[in-house]
Amino acid sequence: MKRLRKWTAWILVLAMLVPLVLTTAGCSGETQADDNRIVIWHDKEDAVAEALEAELARLVPDVEIVLEKKTSLTDSLKLSGNDPSAAPDLFIFAHDKIGVFAEMGILAPVTDFVSEETLSSYLDMTIDAVTYKDTIYQLPIYFETLLFMYNRRYMQDDEVPATTEELYAYMQENTGRGRYGFVEQHSTAYYSAAWIHGFGGSLISADGQPLLDSEEVRRALQYHLKFVELMPGETEYSTVNTLFIEGQADATIGGPWMVPSAREAGIDLGIAPMPTVDETGLKLSPYSGVQGVYVLNHAAQSKDETVRQVLEALSNPSVGVALAQASGCAPANTACYDDPAIAEDEMVQAMRETAEIATPMPNIPEMDVMWTVTGNLLSDVNLSGEDVDTAAAQAQEEALDLIAAMQ
């Protein structure tokens, strides 16, 4: 009996050892920092990733590039911070997180690696977007912005509204019986910002002051309401996307990511400039997002030379051209537009034109909370039918509280 008990004890000791063994196995499995190896996190579609990989393999064949797709990229970065054993060396993401990561202190300025001269050939809008507190924290690669798209089968080229009132008239005429003249993600901050900018307003000032109860924002929301009434009571992507792709909606404001599926569905897609708000004479001005590469501090220090090579390669116009061809991204580098293939691409050109009027997303950390608060305000007004002024005042207060809570 005693022997058996001993035996049991041994089994238990073994059971306890299992986690330990696994632990050490985990340790040894870790790859040592290799100066010639650059890990890049991204959350892009396969087409973009493949094009990037191919270009980098061609431009810097000596560097081992590992492109890793990371679904919750920003959340993971907030955890791993600057830790060489867990964080990547570079990552590709839109510019709106610059403030957060720069304040965290995990980013290195890209000007350490790329010359002023190289950057001078980039579109001004993209450089503005990636500058935070006078420092450039991201090397732009391409940018995206919302476009006015229409289905030529239902909306003729000469019917495309030049002003918002024309759009409204068109919607009134063509909405009903399960069909929509125009749809958009009306209660989502990213989309509604276009209307707010069209009234000369904005969600937040450059110094981080929320502006939700400003005159402009309230007027924009009030005006926007009548459009919302003629749109479905859902604001999420898949509804809007499906309505347009199934030909149940004549026009929409959507991102370039809608284009491949629209073409696949056989839609004769037209892309037009944004309509002008009659009251203000300003065009609807959507947010633009600049996608580019960020450098983490630890890599900037330990792999200085390799990072320089990779960034230089990424600033090569051929990267922008390849991406534009692979998935219709609009290059940030003006040199790319000299390429005939790009010059002829209708969508890329339309995006470049819209970029002139588009507003780069704010990159200050305070913006992080504004997405949610503005979303709440929009759904309160558009979906729950609350009074614009009261809801705006309440949202403003909420935004102030949240921003105060960030400190």
């Binding site: 004890a9 909370v369 960030m406």
Partner: protein
Amino acid sequence: MGLKRQKKWKQKKKGKGKTTFYAYLYSAPSLILIGLVVVFPILYTGYISLTNMNVYHWFDFEIIGLGNYERALLLVDSGFLSALLATILWTVVNMVIQLVVAFVLASLLNIQSLKLRKFYKTLLMFPWAMPGYVSILLWKTGMFNSQFGLLNQWMEKLGLQAVRWLSSDVSAFICCTVVNLWLALPFMIMIMDGALQSIDKSYYESAILDGAGWFKRTIYITLPTIRPIIAPAVIITVFTTFKQFDVVYLLTQQAGAKTGSHFHTLLTYAYENAFITNNYGYSSAISIIIFALLLLFSWKFRLKEEP
């Protein structure tokens, strides 16, 4: 006290010490794991809640005392309280329906002459086999979507008005409850089923001989017997329901897909009002407060469990 007796007493004590030692030795792996993955995070969150760790002090954070708690308590406003009430209501409604439905279904599944039992059981378990967020997404877009959802397609066929299921507070609450039940019932049915099968059939036989009807048998035999068996699962489900986040958030509050409903549970409320600030100190303080509330409730309702 005789020497002999004293010796015996000592021996006994030694034996007891040995039992304790072995009991802890055998439980050690489990307890160590729990310590690492369950207890340590709570302590660590407690520690962070005393610091000023946020975006602006990511690496150089320092202990600032109870400041975060002071601010967190300011969050305890009407919104927080209504979220708390909604959470309690949510937990009670969900648990009651779950227990009753699971018990009835498990009882029916245990009727001896039901030959297809296994088949039904497997089908009823299907919702459990799917990853939770996938199911929620299916419900959201497939069932509740006001444009394309199956529910509205049926409403249309019946000649009724399309309904925006998730947009008002009450109907959002009901929809969330339906989805939550759909997700949680398979597990509960399985637990109940297992418990019912463990009842010694001879109890019933003698009860039937005594002339006890189904109702009496349920009250006096079934329920008392299965109670201790299902207690752990039920209590754990109560907590899971209380801290439910995915169902409510993904159905109604997801960023970019809000539906206009104001139904919040404590966690979704805390998420929108604290966690998105990236202020870890402050969010941790809120987490600890929610945790304290949970402790308070469980203490209030005394989790009785047979020793």
